[in-house]
Symmetry: C2
Subunit: 347 residues, 2 copies
DNA sequence: CTGAAAGCGCTTACAG
DNA sequence: CTGAAAGCGCTTACAG
């Protein structure tokens, strides 16, 4: 029913070989023959079958993308970045998630074996790095979008977590904030350490050692941000700033601080990490370290596309910079002895 | 390099036909032959090539999914729902977006023509309904995830926008809120009218005609929620509640109300629509009408899978219910004459 | 510049 | 119960 290359060939009075040639622009061919064929293609609205082309060429023009979950706050950005470049190259993006755990991986593994796609973009579902490494070792082109600073032994795109921590610290130091509370991310993630180390290092350079009691282990949830602040309050630890390792926990921290009657940003300035849409809607809007998630998705996809075009995959990670976005949750510290007594504002 | 059905056949000492039969469980075959073949398949780790199977069978076992954008707040939920059922059936999900406009549609159209997938799940990018309808008319199995209450002439999954509006109204009426401000969604969307009509109808039944000046046309943005409140304030319109047509604008409304020194939920109760994650993090947490986005994704995918299995696609939309989620942004109205004077709380 | 033929890796009548 | 052969719709040496 659907029209095929044979139909075009017949109608144009040439062989399928010739049609194939004009389709792919390969080999020399008479200009008028080519023109005639093109016209027939146009008339018939012929589009080659992806299945048949795939089988004949041994390539699918599809890239796979494996992600842990689709409901994370920044996942849409990464995906959009990847899809944009993949689509614009005429490739398709086949999506896989780890949502159903081991079963998902089974399905995924079998899709790999059936060669459903030519290359893979992946945000590592926890605990699957070895598996991904194997795929790469067996010859599947893979590029990791390294959201957790894993620095794997295969091509990847990452961001500057360490520098991000530094920029948060520099900003708070400039504002005169000398006792920051840090609400970290999940302990086992590389990004958590990088962000903390960068932050701590910058404070150290300014002659301030971080009070170890003011480093609270969070888990990237809104709730953990609240808990971090609550903990510091319970322990009667003095702090004039919060550096939370993501925006969600920064949002929780802001709320917990304000509920004690303290003002954000004046009494306590808060800096987050990620720059998800939520960061614009906290009260006050959140100063945060922007992670270039969309660009990371794009970069990873471009690497893969480049590879298909003949450029080898880079050995070292491509690192895209974070940038500090200053909003209203941070402000200069005013010495409390010289500051006017806080006005009571009813809300 | 990759092993094929011929390798298995050779090693098992049978024909490719026989291997194919054990693979697909078709036709009678000697139990021991089958067992031997299975063993060889196991040994070799053979998995049939998706491309070849696709070409031979004329089906890809891939479903396409077209969405306007991947960065909308609830898009991840829908996608996750769809992916979950598609994956569990051994199908793949090929993702397309409208992000680059006309060019995206070009690419997409050509993927349709090349028969890259067997069926389509779609959240309509604005202005493409006619195109989608054509695809359906030409025989492509399509199911629409109808987020805007378009009620198209082909299979779809929708939700109860009207009933959602009713439930918001009922809740506010029970709380004694008689003068609600409505901040609508985009005017040209069906869902906006449904939500408004359901809301208005319920108030009318309670003998309260909505003040037309208290219906403000928003556009689903946080900012439009603020504007709606600002407008009512500027016009000196009295209101004791807000019904916003999505959570983002509800969040903006909450902030605008609080900035005037009024209390949410006591002075003004606020109800949203959607129940995105943000709704849990507003201050106070938002009472809202939950839309079953994930279930809609699942239902749509199941419809399509069912169709592949022989069940015809339903003629009428499958409608999944919304549910009111009560949080802290709504509370009973206390008559101001009997209520204690507001305490000034510093925040 | 052009075409006949083989091949990509499967499935599916058709025969036996 | 099993296999040889044709076919799915292309691409790609190879020949001319």
């Amino acid at each position: 029913m659907s029209i095929t290359i044979a139909d075009v060939a017949a109608r144009a009075g040439v062989s399928k070989t010739t049609v194939s040639r004009v389709l792919n622009g390969k080999g020399e061919l008479d200009l008028r023959t080519a023109e005639r064929v093109r016209q027939v293609i146009e008339e018939l609205g012929y589009v080659p079958s992806a299945r048949a082309v795939g089988l004949a060429r041994g390539r699918t023009r599809i890239v796979g993308m494996l992600v842990p979950s689709l409901t994370w706050p920044w996942m849409g950005e990464v995906l959009q970045g990847a899809v944009d470049v993949v689509e614009s190259e005429g490739y398709g993006l086949l999506l896989f998630t780890f949502n159903r755990g081991a079963e998902s991986m089974q399905q995924f593994a079998s899709q790999v074996s059936s060669q459903s796609f030519d290359g893979l973009l992946v945000i590592e579902p926890e605990g699957t790095l070895t598996f991904i490494e194997q795929l790469h070792a067996r010859g599947l082109p893979v590029v990791l979008i390294d959201d957790r600073d894993k620095r794997p032994q295969f091509p990847s795109v990452a961001t500057t977590n360490y520098a991000g921590g530094e920029s948060a610290a520099r900003h708070l130091l400039e504002l005169g904030r000398r006792r920051p509370l840090v609400i970290t991310g999940v302990e086992r993630f590389g990004c958590t350490h990088e962000r903390l180390d960068g932050f701590r290092g910058t404070y150290a350079q300014a002659g301030i050692e971080l009070d170890q009691r003011l480093v609270f282990e969070g888990d990237f949830t809104h709730e953990s941000g609240r808990r971090g602040v609550q903990y510091a309050l319970d322990e009667r630890l003095d702090f004039d700033a919060v550096f939370a390792h993501n925006d969600l926990s920064a949002g929780g921290a802001i709320q917990a601080v304000r509920e004690t009657g303290r003002n954000v940003p004046n009494d306590v300035s808060v800096v987050g990490f990620d720059d998800i849409p939520y960061a614009e809607h906290t009260e006050p809007p959140l100063t945060t370290v922007h992670q270039p998630m969309r660009q990371m998705g794009q970069a990873a996809a471009r690497m893969l596309m480049g590879y298909f075009g003949g450029t080898p995959l880079p050995e070292t990670p491509q690192v895209l910079p974070t940038t500090l976005i200053v909003r209203s949750s941070t402000a200069p510290k005013v010495d409390s002895r010289t500051r006017p007594a806080p006005k009571h504002r009813s809300r």
